[in-house]
């Protein structure tokens, strides 16, 4: 233990000595630096000249009266508010217009909307006949049903059906049956006035639909779909 403590003490002593000598030399250098800088400052202050020519006293406030408002300044304030308000109004109009045009851009255009509707003249369809029209790329069946067919459609026990639906819920006028001619099984087009139930028959996989377009037999899970349609006049049908 003893050799270690003496060694450490010797190291400490020598480092302290080195520190002392270095600080003393540093002090001398610092003193020299201070003296040189003070000498410099003394020499420069003698030849100092202000860069602001013609202004002898910098504490003097310049005369701004040329730029000041002639009256109370209220007119300027009013003008300022007016300009802020005008810019705000134009920005608001622009922002509203931008948003509105973007939203308008997303909606369907007039030609698309015109193509999305089909008009059918019902006076040309005799009773007991089918008509197929194309609507949005799909066939639509329109049948002018006879009174017996309406009775037949209403006589069916709805609870026994695979997709229970009353005939009255599927038509707006009982004599006009309007529905999409796409089999709900795999999308074939059923054949009219065919099948076991006097309605439609799908030749692809043998689905039988009755005179109200309801599935009665075969693989299809649902009744034939009814599109949105309307009768604006007595002899006119608009699908879509």
């Amino acid at each position: 233990m003893a050799p270690l403590t003496t060694a450490s003490r010797a190291v400490a002593r020598s480092s302290a000595l080195r520190l002392a000598t270095s600080t003393s030399s540093n002090a001398v250098a610092t003193r020299a630096a201070i003296s040189t800088s003070s000498a410099l400052r003394d020499s420069s202050s003698a030849s100092y000249s202000s860069p602001f020519k013609g202004e002898s006293n910098s504490n003097k406030i310049p005369d701004f009266s040329k730029y000041m408002a002639k009256g109370s300044g209220g007119g300027n304030q009013l003008f300022g508010y007016f300009m802020v308000g005008t810019l705000g109004a134009i920005s608001a109009a622009g922002a509203k217009s931008t948003i509105q045009e973007f939203l308008k851009n997303m909606s369907a255009s007039a030609d698309v909307l015109a193509m999305a509707k089909v008009e059918v003249d019902l006076a040309a369809i005799p009773e007991g006949k089918n008509v197929i029209v194309k609507w949005r790329g799909k066939p639509v069946f329109i049948r002018h049903r006879t009174a017996e067919e309406i009775d037949e459609a209403n006589k069916v026990n709805v609870a026994s059906l695979r997709d229970p639906e009353n005939d009255a819920d599927r038509v707006k006028k009982p004599e006009w049956l309007v529905m999409l001619g796409v089999c709900t099984h795999l999308g074939c087009v059923p054949i009219g006035e065919a099948g076991d139930y006097g309605g439609w028959f799908c030749p692809c996989h043998g689905s039988h639909y009755d005179i109200s377009g309801r599935i009665r037999k075969g693989p299809a899970p649902l009744n034939l779909e009814v599109p949105a349609y309307d009768f604006p006049e007595d002899d006119k049908l608009i699908i879509g």
Binding site: G74, L78, G85, T86, I90
Partner: protein, 62 residues
């Protein structure tokens, strides 16, 4: 003009909600004015080329 007795300032600009209301009302009015003027300008530049200008030549009145 003294700002204290200026009617425009006191009635419209002093309260923020009246100022904002004025701005929005101004935006509404400005938009109507600007839209109609720009549509008129467009129609005058494209006179004779739009459907509404040549419709009478093609459309048969029912």
């Amino acid at each position: 003009m003294n700002i204290a007795n200026s009617g425009l300032y006191n009635t419209l600009f002093r309260k923020n909600y009246t100022f904002l209301g004025l701005v929005f009302a101004g935006a509404f009015g400005f938009e109507m004015f600007y839209d109609t003027r720009m549509n008129k300008l467009w129609d005058s530049i494209n006179r004779g080329r739009q459907w509404k200008d040549i419709r009478h030549k093609y459309a048969e009145e029912e």
